[in-house]
Amino acid sequence: MTHAERAADFLLDEARTDWHDESLWQVRGKRDTIVHAIPEWEALRQLGSDIKDNVLSNLDTYLEQFERQATANGVTVHWAKDAAEHNRIVHSILARHRVNRIVKSKSMLTEECHLNQYLKQQGIEVIDTDLGERIIQLRKEPPSHIVMPAIHLKKEEIGQLFYEQLGTDEGASDPQYLTEAARQHLREKFLAAKAAITGVNFAVAETGGIVVCTNEGNADMGVHLAPVQIHCMGIEKVIPQAEHLGVFTRLLGRSATGQPITIYTSHHHRPKEGGEMHVVIVDNGRTEQLGREEFRNSLKCIRCGACMNTCPIYRRSGGHSYDHTIPGPIGSILSPGIDLKKHGDLAFASTLCGSCSDVCPVKIDIHDQLYKWRQMVSEEGLLPKTKTIPLAGAGTVLSHNGLYNIMGKAARVALSHAPRVLVYNGMNPWGKTRELPEVPKESFKEWYARTHKSKF
């Protein structure tokens, strides 16, 4: 199934699509309001981008420095070249402590590695503790957004889910009531957990510490109560020094949800007394992306989600239509690098309007990269026939002046007499939701020649 097909499914419910569209546009609006209150915003974005450029060009030395510092702090650092190794490392830590149930806060990396499924197979229960993540976990669904995992769901659906699985009142859908129920349900899990896993927003090379940002406080409840804490990070999360957190914490919350900063910005440097702290550094395709000159910028991403909230395609196709852990514009430039055949169509899930690049806090040239991936898809011969045949035809016509004139005339005559099926058929998805304008009797060229004859 392609993105377009999955999007078509999403669009079947028009009212719901509008609602989804508006919810995200509202978040974009909040982002705009708060960003406009910072006069130096553009300079701040540039700083964020420049620091990340420096990180990419020194990634090896920063990671080594981070490991040295963290080890000196009493933290155990692990390296995983791929998802399978990451999962094995996490499992071995848990197995050593005979842990069979863990709490986990939001981590797109563990989603990417399918850690939950892996641990389940090993007999370990994983409880996602971010409210949105818990909701989709109970529904056995992947997240549809990296910051708001359950943004695609209505409160009535969540009410029904909680009624069935957490024993809340039937028909209750008040967010306050449902959140309270989740709080009670998850507090028990926090108190019982022997190990906690979190993602990492930033890892500081200079100090060997990691930073986790949340609003709910779930990451901290897990980590500080469980004797064993595990933090999983992609190699690109490292930043040089503590002072650079000043730049990124200013950018992240504002870009993500229009907040001046997340409620909690937690800095973990050493294990708690009697506890253990592990950091797992994961590659899983990132070094390959680093080697792609035109696409390496995508590694600067701080996962704020702003490009999703603003994207007219994401807003009207939903996160699940991307069929990739990271959806939206950033997902569409990361996923083709992982599997061009499977995800190449995502490069076309864009209008190339450039809104994503405009809001990106680290100035990733997202829409340019989408365009470049399109060229790669075409070069690799992976374009579907609905695109190659018309494009080949258009190429011939557009490169021959005489042919262009003839074809134009032919089209004007043909289109006004042609049966609808010629335009509105399966080969032409463009016709699905659009009507052609009325066909003019003459071309601009003809009109110009006729009305401006005297001047020639």
Partner: protein, 189 residues
């Protein structure tokens, strides 16, 4: 080859040429010192935080007397000494915690609470309600200045707190009291 070597070698082979580390600018709010307190209050109020005066603090806390109170602030009596507790699970029943915060950031209301102020890392999260006491003199303009004012590795854990815990995961409706405190009260001393 170990995965570490494998990853580092691949990075070396694939990374771009050198790019300089930019110098950070001075605090953009450095010149507007007299507005810091007003900004700090306004931002925190917007994230559902309320304020209390130093004078009103003791009597407010006494209102929680029949519940478990932890206080590390002089003149504000608690009824559970956090230093007497070995296992953080024993803090599960805390209703109110009154703690110092090291600095406050005007632009976003964030307050730095390190392990020394929290005593137990989980305390500012597990308590049902939280009061933070921060000195007016310890306000700074923006996060740039904040990170210059603190040493993030001085203790094993430290956190910026900028409001009561919250979520908007159900239809974007703001709900206060997700997993952490249901309320945050700030006392500017």
């Amino acid at each position: 080859m170990s995965s570490k070597r494998n990853i580092l070698e691949r990075i070396r082979a694939n990374k771009p040429g050198p790019r300089p580390l930019p110098a950070l600018p001075p605090d953009p709010l450095a010149g507007a010192q007299e507005q810091w307190e007003a900004t700090f209050r306004a931002v925190l109020a917007a994230s559902k935080t309320t304020f209390i005066t130093t004078a009103d603090l003791p009597s407010y806390v006494r209102g929680f007397e029949d519940k478990t109170i932890v206080s590390t602030v002089a003149g504000v009596p608690g009824n559970l000494d956090p230093h007497s507790i070995a296992d953080p699970l024993q803090l599960a029943g805390v209703e109110l915690a009154v703690l110092h915060a090291r600095i406050g950031v005007a632009e976003n209301g964030a307050m730095w609470v390190s392990e020394s102020e929290a005593v137990h890392r989980v305390l500012p999260f597990i308590t049902q309600h939280l009061i933070l006491v921060v000195k007016r003199d310890d306000l700074v303009g923006t996060m740039h200045e904040a990170y210059r004012a603190i040493d993030i590795q001085e203790t094993g854990f430290g956190v910026f707190i900028a409001g009561p815990s919250k979520t908007a995961d159900i239809e974007q409706s703001l709900v206060i009291g997700a997993h952490g405190p249901r309320s945050l009260l700030v006392c500017l001393d």
